[in-house]
Subunit: 538 residues, 2 copies
């Protein structure tokens, strides 16, 4: 069979290496990484192994209840607090992450900050359909709106017995007067937080299916939307998105903005702000933040940002035309900002791409006439379905020439489409934590990402809706991916980060500069790692 075991292991090494040759880290992991990187990779593996035992494994001293089961890559919402205390998370927080290619703007700033931003503005009001009591608080969501001064109301609390349901209460006043038996102002914050984020109990018990958790997920957008779609808040929100992303080590942002609402509210509470105005503001804030960074000598940490124009896949096909025209208009006015077009929303429940073929193909023709280029960057295959509309969206995304695939969770089932993605450099925007919380996978070890990586499908790690899921930035997503694989290591994370620019909408020149800047960050990161863990260095 085998003349000796030496021969066996030689054959084995060859087989393993052939099996892994399509991986993004194949060349680098194959002993051609430089010495410092090799050392850093071993260090990170050692820390991971240690924490797999001491924190997630048999020697763990983390206290949890009987029904909670600790393991690396476990349910994120249960693990979150534990993760933040690990060395590996500290390291992932420092890692330069490259480009964030899949995030929805209205879910990128954490809820405490959003509330702080909203509280600055007396126009923002809140109301409830019932007086809020200890019994009803769990089932009643707040409704927010920016009112015109003439509409400002004098009601003083949604928890007072005298509150007339449906009356608007100024946000600050409602918070200040929130019934002390419901926790006072902090109780108000808690109530708001539970309305616009997903709790572990929801994700893992009461709403533990894709269908049910999407109901809650959608309601978070419904509730938070009016706070964000108020121009004075929106501007601060965008700035915060840039700054917090940079702080997390993300240097380029290609964000989806949902333009479903044709207008948003101005400071005076009038719903008249156009998409064009918004993009003007976006551009201005972007330039300000870039200038800030330049002044701090940190220009390598932030390359810039572009926008993927999005609307929701429930609109009737004949209404899509308005959005496509709008997108073209914006592209003409802000050619450097508009990077693509997408249709978003729950694929299992909403319209398949085939419903929109006619307007979408005309959109492509129209671009040719105008000499502009707005690639599709479609969500597709964000589903557990096998041969369902949502799964089949992958065929249409590909046939329509999508530049990347949002989620592509079911892509692993499609050998021909995987081949096309590999050949055409169509990257899958993989959102590990989002997929887990929205019940496509129960934990990271069940996620198809390692399969995609081994099959050589281009991927990029993304956060999707961090404000709802609590995975702010990209550190948590990198962490969850890193702990759930023994094949992947720091070098894999490096390649994931570094290649993200390649799949972005930057032009070739910008990409080169972006990677150059990233390489500098990576060097600094390695230096930090060496200083931080000198004992483990050997």
């Amino acid at each position: 069979m085998y003349p000796d075991l030496g021969e066996y292991f030689a054959r084995r090494e060859q087989l393993v290496s052939e099996d892994r040759k399509q991986r993004l880290d194949a060349r680098t992991s194959n002993k051609v990484v430089d010495e410092v990187e090799g050392k850093a990779d071993r260090l990170v593996r050692a820390i991971r192994a240690q924490e797999a035992r001491n924190i997630w494994g048999p020697d763990s001293n983390v206290e949890v209840d009987n029904d909670t089961h600790l393991f690396p890559g476990m349910a994120f919402l249960t693990a979150r607090e534990i993760i933040t205390k690990t060395q590996l998370f500290k390291i992932m927080s420092r890692l330069p992450k490259g480009a964030l290619l899949h995030a929805h703007l209205d879910a990128t700033v954490n809820v405490e900050v959003l509330l702080r931003l909203a509280l600055r503005h007396p126009a923002i009001h809140v109301r409830t359909p019932k007086v809020l009591t200890a019994n009803s608080i769990g089932s009643i969501q707040p409704e927010f709106r920016a009112l015109r001064r003439s509409e400002w109301d004098s009601a003083s609390s949604v928890t007072a017995l005298s509150y007339i349901p449906g009356e608007w209460v100024p946000l600050r006043v409602a918070r200040q007067n929130f019934d002390p038996t419901l926790g006072g102002p902090e109780g108000f914050d808690k109530w708001l937080t539970s309305a616009i984020t997903i709790s572990p109990a929801e994700a893992y018990r009461t709403h533990n299916t894709t269908q049910k958790i999407w109901q809650k997920f959608q309601s978070t957008f419904h509730t938070a939307g009016p706070l964000i779609l108020y121009l004075p808040v929106w501007k601060d929100y965008v700035r915060e998105f840039f700054r917090s992303s940079i702080d997390d080590g993300i240097s380029y942002l290609e964000v989806r903005i949902n333009f479903l609402h044709r207008y948003i509210f101005n400071e005076a509470g009038e719903e008249i702000v156009t998409h064009s105005t918004l993009l003007g503001e976006y551009d201005r804030i972007l330039n300000e933040v870039k200038e800030e960074m330049r002044q701090q000598g940190r220009e390598d940490e932030f390359i810039g940002s572009k926008i993927i124009y999005s609307t929701i896949r429930f609109i009737p096909p004949d209404e899509l035309q308005w959005y496509l025209d709008d997108c073209i208009t914006l592209k003409q006015k802000f050619p450097h900002l508009i990077a693509g077009f997408d249709l978003v929303g729950h694929e299992d429940a909403l319209r398949p791409l085939t419903d929109y073929l006619e307007p979408l193909t005309k959109f492509v023709e129209r671009q040719k006439e105008l000499g502009i280029e707005i690639p599709f960057i479609f969500h597709a295959g964000e589903t557990l379905g096998d041969g369902t509309n949502a799964d089949n969206n992958l065929y249409d995304a590909i046939l329509l020439g999508t530049k990347r695939i949002g989620h592509g969770f079911s892509l692993i089932k499609h050998p021909k489409l995987m081949e096309i993605c590999k050949e055409g450099g169509i990257a899958v925007e993989v959102c590990p934590i989002s997929n887990e919380i929205l019940r496509l996978t129960s934990s990271m070890p069940m996620h198809p990402l390692p399969a995609l990586i081994n099959h050589g499908v281009p991927v990029s790690l993304c956060s999707d809706d961090p404000a709802v899921f609590g995975n702010m930035g990209l550190s948590f997503d990198f962490f969850q991916v890193l702990v759930a694989s023994e094949v992947s290591g720091l070098i894999t994370m490096k390649e994931l980060a570094r290649r993200s620019f390649k799949y972005s909408s930057l032009d070739e020149n910008e990409k080169q500069l972006a990677v150059l800047s990233w390489d500098k960050q990576w060097k600094k990161f390695l230096q930090w790692l060496e200083q931080e863990y000198p004992a483990l260095e050997a």
Copy 2:
């Protein structure tokens, strides 16, 4: 882009068909099925769609608690009772299933029958380490043993206050005298059942990780083992395994027998029965059952059975030699029975195949010298790990020339190994319900089977340990696979069943005869379907 939508849809159809061309049903589903089969496939799809709404979906009138979420392919232990009431299950029960290629003998007969068989024998005794009370019953497992007559004890109940812990009580007596406040004899049966099966609460709450559920899983074998390893029970058990499998539409059984214990107990309670005696009995019972079937004119329903010699992957490598020699001895004596060799047990926790390379390769050499052939049929990749020992077992199974792969749950991550399986006709014995209960997947829609099918990897559906999981026969496994895919249909199930012989250890001639017999069963099945659902026929 596309001249018109007709052109688009033509391109789309071509792409879908190319994407699915490696599927086992590709040729047949591609409109070359005959008219009757086509009709039957549409009928089954219609019933599935109806039940997806009326039973598992929005129009369901099945009553469940708040935290239970109905959907097709949901957690089996919660769904089991609902499944048995569906039309689709009735149909899958009737389907001729072909060969069962992965099941462990000591978990193939359901617990009620096992108890009934055990109660026939006064030698079988039970004991507990404490008096059983309402408080302790949940945490105390019964210990069984067949005693020699001289050891028979006179203790009369494990629930009496006078019971001296550790004293043996005759099984029948212990059952008869089980405290009425603990449910009397029925309470005894319930206690026994909970010790040797997995409950929904265990699988989905208290033991909801691979590691924890395996502890419970192993304890079921530990507890039930002594009942089965008593020759008088063993013989009835084997006969029941054959008969109940035939009743479920399985016509060939390639079963793994765990030969870890070098001797089992004879009727007199002496641990002296050899493996050779066991195989002699197996052969005799097999022939009796075949003869029974012949006399009933049902010889097409049962082709026969072979045995995969197994021991557990915790034994020290130098002890493996004994088992390999034993396996060769048995093969020489029962060449028609011994079909292969395997190492079983929890891959994540036990020794990797690499620990056994030396004896295993010598085993192969020895066979060549003796002119016999005992292929390896290894468990491998029954894990969520990525690059762990259990995952890497796949490399060794392949390098050692495995004939099939038991589980291969992580195979989808290995492009080169998938290629080798496709080229070499190495089938994966996929055990969908087992994987779900042992927490490799949370539900059928998360299972990698559809990906393996689309990539053209040969697969065979198997039940693994139905007595522990409650998935008796193969009907439940076929059901769970069928409801969790819109691509697969009755024709897919047909191909799964029919091809199972191809991957079996039957010789070429036997395979041909097996398929001929199966084809007759399939025809009868189609006739039954037509008669049973005349209204839906159109």
